[in-house]
């Protein structure tokens, strides 16, 4: 793959997935904006590096989410964090991220970040509107179990957010 082809492929990918991947970072890092930006940058870098190796054996979304989840899991371990300069600055963040006005969104993000890793993953993927089959392919769970697991995860999240609702 030539550098031009790689850039074209990444461009198409970026247009389709930038917001989805960004939201996944929010679920990993809660309301720690600096961490969200660092993780988002790390995920894009991993995908940029891995893109020439993508042969289409899986759906692009499954492949991308999988890399993003693995990067997020590794990111939560301080030891694997690399100290690279931040290329995505605070000024690049959307206005609502620089000054989050919506308190409910902040509470939702904090609640999701406090969930168990497996619950957090299922909740985030369903919030993105993915089907059970897609969630199963990404998370590695059995498709039949997704519904039950999601129901339990939602109940736990609901319990966590209940004090803020009133």
């Amino acid at each position: 793959m030539t550098p031009k082809e790689k850039e074209r492929q990444f461009e198409a990918f970026y247009r389709d997935y930038q917001h989805k991947l960004y939201r996944l970072c929010c679920s990993f890092c809660g309301d720690e904006e600096a961490d969200v930006a660092d993780l988002y940058q790390e995920i894009l870098l991993q995908i940029w590096k891995a893109l020439p190796g993508f042969r289409g054996q899986a759906q692009l979304s499954t492949w991308a989410y999988r890399i993003a989840i693995n990067t997020g899991t590794a990111f939560r371990r301080n030891r694997t964090r690399r100290h690279l300069p931040r290329v995505i600055k605070d000024a690049d963040l959307p206005a609502q991220e620089q000054h989050p006005k919506d308190e409910r969104l902040q509470q939702l993000r904090a609640g999701i970040a406090r969930l168990l890793p497996s619950d957090r993953l299922l909740i985030t993927l369903q919030l993105e509107g993915l089907s059970y089959a897609e969630i199963a392919a990404i998370s590695g769970h059995n498709t039949n179990q997704i519904g039950v697991r999601l129901h339990r995860a939602k109940r736990r999240l609901h319990k966590m957010l209940l004090p803020y609702e009133n």
Binding site: F10, E11, Y14, R15, Q18, H19, L21, Y22, R23, C26, A37, Y40, Q41, L44, L45, Q46, W48, K49, A50, G53, Q57, A58, W63, R66, I67, N70, T71, T73, A74, R76, R77, N78, R79, T80, L84, P85, V87, I88, D92, P94, Q96, E97, D102, R104, L105, L108, P117, S118, L127, E128, G129, G140, H141, N142, Q145, K154, R155, L157, H158, E165
Partner: protein, 192 residues
């Protein structure tokens, strides 16, 4: 709860990524790649320069034993440096990428191996450092009586090894706290 979920979903979808054009992000990613490469090159360069300088100084002012000792210590440092740069958790696994069970199995194995290696390499480092230090003593303490040389060598070696034993046990317990939950999480995913 149904209404809640609908609201949460709408709220969640409101979050948008930084407003950067693809070209801009590609340019920044390229810059990041260059920066990471530069960091690695700089580290290799400074390490090599330090190694050459120390070895030359050892040969000029010390002797063959001092140089051998310094060489051994530098080898140990290089070994630890290599370990520090290789992360046991691969985020992109070429072979098992599309088989989740296989992928998790490999990750768990890599993490558990990482813990064992960390312990083993740190002990090898401790022994090589002590050995290197003792080799430099052959030159540095050559003017002293043999009994003094043995005493100094023993005291320094034992102190060094005790300090290493303490820090290795602390490091491993910290590593267990970090890796333990991660391995458990991967194992829980694997069993589903």
């Amino acid at each position: 709860m149904k209404t809640d979920w609908k609201n949460w979903s709408q709220l969640w979808q409101q979050q948008n990524a930084p407003d950067l054009s693809p070209n801009e992000i590609i340019e920044r990613l390229n810059r990041l790649g260059t920066s990471a490469r530069r960091q690695r090159r700089w580290l290799v360069l400074t390490f090599s320069i330090t190694a050459i300088t120390l070895l030359s100084m050892g040969l000029i002012w010390g002797g063959i034993w001092t140089s051998a000792g310094i060489g051994l210590m530098l080898f140990a440092m290089g070994m630890i440096l290599y370990q520090a740069f290789s992360s046991p958790l691969q985020v992109v696994d070429e072979i098992a990428q599309f088989d989740q069970q296989q992928f998790l199995k490999r990750q768990i194995k890599a993490l558990e191996q990482g813990r064992r290696l960390a312990s083993r390499y740190m002990w090898i480092y401790a022994v090589l450092l002590t050995l290197g230090l003792n080799l430099t003593y052959l030159d540095a303490l050559s003017a002293l009586y043999t009994s003094w040389r043995i005493a100094i060598s023993l005291v320094v070696s034992l102190t060094l090894l005790s300090a290493f034993a303490y820090s290795i046990s602390r490091y491993l317990s910290r590593l267990d706290q970090e890796l333990g939950p991660l391995v458990n999480q991967l194992k829980a995913w694997q069993s589903n």
